[in-house]
Amino acid sequence: MHIPEGLIPAQQAAVWYVPAVGFVGAGLVGLKRRLAIKPEVRPLIGLMGAFVFVISLMPIPVPGLGTVSHPCGTPMAAILLGPLTATVLGSVALLLQALFFAHGGITSWGANIISMAVGGSFAGFAVFKVSRRVGLGLGISAGMAGLVGDLVTYGLTSLQLALALHGDEPVAYVWGAAFASFLPTQVPLAIAEGLFTAGVVVFIANQRAEILEGVVIRP
């Protein structure tokens, strides 16, 4: 989902920056407030930042297809820390990846923030919350959050690519074609991300339940 440098026209890149700056700004304000009230959350924030950075950079091979892709990590960060904090962590990870690993870009940073940091975090968090509200188990809710957050990220990336590169063809058609080209690789990875998210959240609930205090909605 890291859209490379130069593929999005400058005007569109600027438009993507506007909501991205809004979300990251709101996240930073919330983070500052949160750290003032609850400073002990700092290690978890640092750990999740490192986690999102590594997991969203890791090229995981998909057997049979010969392709590689990566999970997002932002759904899990959103479950543990809230979607706005996860947005901040995702945007920092994307900046470092663009600067040091040529993974993504600076002009496409805003668009990548919207797809992975905002889309992955908010979609994952919403699915987790709704799943818990309707009475689904912790593991299933977290798993669905990971899976949906991952797919929403790639759906948004497809939309951004379609808007930027549709040429004479309808945007909806190009979006569908781009998303369809992602699916064979990304569906197995989304399932893996769901399983991993479920495993980690359940493990934390068993070992350090206080981390999930105030986050996990008991049905």
Binding site: M1, H2, I3, P4, E5, G6, L7, P39, E40, R42, P43, G46, P59, P61, P63, G64, L65, G66, T67, V68, S69, H70, L96, A98, L99, F100, A102, H103, G104, G105, I106, T157, S158, L161, A162, A164, L165, H166, G167, V174, A178, S181, F182, T185, Q186
Partner: protein, 90 residues
């Protein structure tokens, strides 16, 4: 025990499947999806930074940043992990 056998089996099947897939494993899936669209639209990927950084200079900066971050984490260890140093380490 059963859980570990299951995990090892899944990992083993994954590794074998990866090894037997004929591919060079090049490029992220986004590149695979974006490249045909970009070629069709006549757009090319460009360098991230407007200036050229040679050789391992970026690696140097990244590792230097990592070292500074590691030092900061160690320096503020008690602030970050209050109470976790109750057991004396020799």
């Amino acid at each position: 025990m059963k859980r570990w056998i299951l995990i090892l089996t899944v990992v083993g099947v994954f590794v074998v499947a990866v090894l037997f897939t004929e591919s060079k494993w090049e490029g992220d899936v986004t590149e695979g999806a974006a490249t045909p669209l970009a070629e069709k639209a006549g757009v090319e990927e460009s360098e991230v930074l407007p200036w050229k950084v040679d050789g391992d200079l970026l690696l140097f900066f990244f590792l230097s940043g990592g070292a500074v971050a590691g030092f900061a984490a160690g320096y503020y260890w008690r602030t970050l992990f209050p109470g976790s140093d109750s057991r004396k380490m020799v």
